[in-house]
């Protein structure tokens, strides 16, 4: 155990890189998820089809294969990216493809009455999506997004294979220096486990925070202050 304490700064550096990958990857995942998810629901074939291909390709191959392809094969086509950029990009493309289906599923499962009411009130497709359907769908997306984020955290370990100095990579370095395999990998497993438990707590909290039918401290007034629902009708 003393070797771990001795090399703690190294692990700390790795942890920071892992957290950076997690945060940047999650933000980009969200952008890709909404772009691809909404594009897949488009009535235009030329918008819908590429989105569907993107989603199926990135869901159908493993992230490690995608990582290797972007790191080793893409430079042969003239596009060379540093390991960290490849890491964030591939994490986001891969998890974004999964999350795009979450976005699509949540929006499609809104009751038809919402769309019908919009049509009756003459609310156009764009406003309908932005003001009515998406805000209502967010609580339904959260549990699945939570899984995506925990998955993303676990997948950050793969970028160690493309020379990114994340937690796993630093762990491997310490193992190579000290040979303390048991101590090193036990520490790594515990750190990842604690991180994913913390993430799930965060997700649970946000689920409660954004729930449409939440009870307790909240009441009708707070429900109506939800973005998108507050406009009109309350005053």
């Amino acid at each position: 155990m003393s070797t771990i304490i001795e090399h703690a700064p190294r692990l700390w550096e790795g942890l920071l890189v892992t957290l950076q990958l997690l945060v940047l990857g999650s933000v980009l995942t969200l952008v890709i998820a909404f772009t691809a998810g909404l594009a897949r629901m488009s009535r235009q074939f030329l918008v819908r089809f590429p989105a569907a291909v993107f989603i199926e390709v990135f869901r159908g191959t493993s992230m490690i294969v995608q990582l290797f392809w972007f790191f080793f094969a893409l430079p042969m086509l003239g596009i060379e990216l540093p390991g960290f950029a490849v890491g964030v990009l591939v994490l986001a493309l891969n998890e974004g493809a999964y999350a795009a289906e979450v976005v699509r599923g949540a929006i499609k499962s809104r009751p038809a009455g919402q769309t019908e009411a919009c049509i009756a009130l003459g609310i156009g497709p764009v406003t309908r999506m932005r003001r009515i359907l998406i805000p209502q769908s967010i609580p339904a997306m959260l549990p699945a997004f939570g899984n995506v984020v925990v998955d993303l955290l676990k997948n950050t370990s793969l970028v160690s294979a493309v020379t990114v100095l994340d937690l796993t990579y630093q762990g491997q370095t310490i193992r190579a220096i000290t040979g303390e395999t048991t101590a090193v990998f036990t520490t790594l497993l515990i750190v990842y486990f604690v991180l994913s438990v913390l993430l799930s707590f965060l997700v649970k909290w946000s689920e409660r925070h954004f729930a449409i039918d939440r009870v307790g401290k909240s009441n009708g007034a707070r429900l109506l202050s939800l973005p998108g629902i507050s406009r009109g009708g309350t005053t």
Binding site: T61, A73, M76, F185, Y192, F193
Partner: protein
């Protein structure tokens, strides 16, 4: 440097050999996951003091840590304790153990999906325990369990590529080896991706169809 068809064709047999190893590893991993998952699910279901919570933690822990780190841990730690296994066997065990935690949850949720009314009806008709399980609960649970398991099997197939990092000689590892020895990564890694897709996409479509067919229509 662009795509070279001749080179692509020349490496295809090796890559197909890698795909075969991937499929074998996945199948073996599935068998371990099915059996171990069942044991975990039953022990959790029986609510045995100490033992059941321990297995509950096991499920949480395995699901909360990366497969790669688990694979590294098994690959480097086991030999320290005198257990020397080939990368293939280590990889299969890690894959199976990892997915046993998911499989256990699938069994559990499949059984919980069967409505309480079914259990109450069985009690009301004073049906003994055994037929309640074999004739009422399990046949209904299977409907939701099978598609869920199928999705995890596809995921295992894809995740097995991670085991290339502990030098298991599967599809990605073969592609990577060709790439580094020929200094051409484009063809081998692109074909690796296509081969993964060629198996997982039809499988996913099949599972989706199965899911619809097995869904209870009320």
């Amino acid at each position: 440097m662009t795509w070279d068809n001749e080179f692509a064709l020349s490496i295809l047999p090796d890559l197909l050999g890698g795909l075969w190893v991937t499929i074998q590893a996945t199948m073996s991993g599935i068998l371990i996951a099915l059996a171990l998952g069942l044991i975990v699910a039953v022990i959790r279901y029986l609510r045995i003091p100490v033992l059941s919570p321990v297995f509950g933690f096991y499920v949480q822990f395995v699901r909360g840590t990366p497969l790669l780190v688990q694979a590294f841990a098994a690959f480097y730690i086991l030999p320290d304790y005198g257990i020397v296994l080939s990368p293939l066997i280590t990889g299969i065990i890690v894959l199976g153990v990892n997915y046993s935690s998911y499989t256990a949850e699938v069994y559990r949720s499949g059984i919980e999906d069967v409505g309480t009314g079914q259990w109450e009806a069985a009690t009301a008709l004073s049906l003994p325990v055994r037929p309640t399980w074999t004739r009422i609960v399990l046949p209904q649970a299977v409907r939701s369990i099978v598609p869920m398991l199928g999705n995890y099997w596809i995921q295992m197939f894809k995740d097995s590529a991670i085991l290339s990092l502990i030098t298991m000689n599967e599809l990605l590892n073969v592609g990577q080896t060709i790439g580094s020895s020929e200094f051409r990564y484009l063809e081998p890694l692109t074909i690796v991706g296509i081969l993964f897709l060629a198996v997982s996409y039809p499988a996913a479509v099949l599972i989706r169809r199965l899911e619809r067919r097995l869904a209870l229509t009320s």
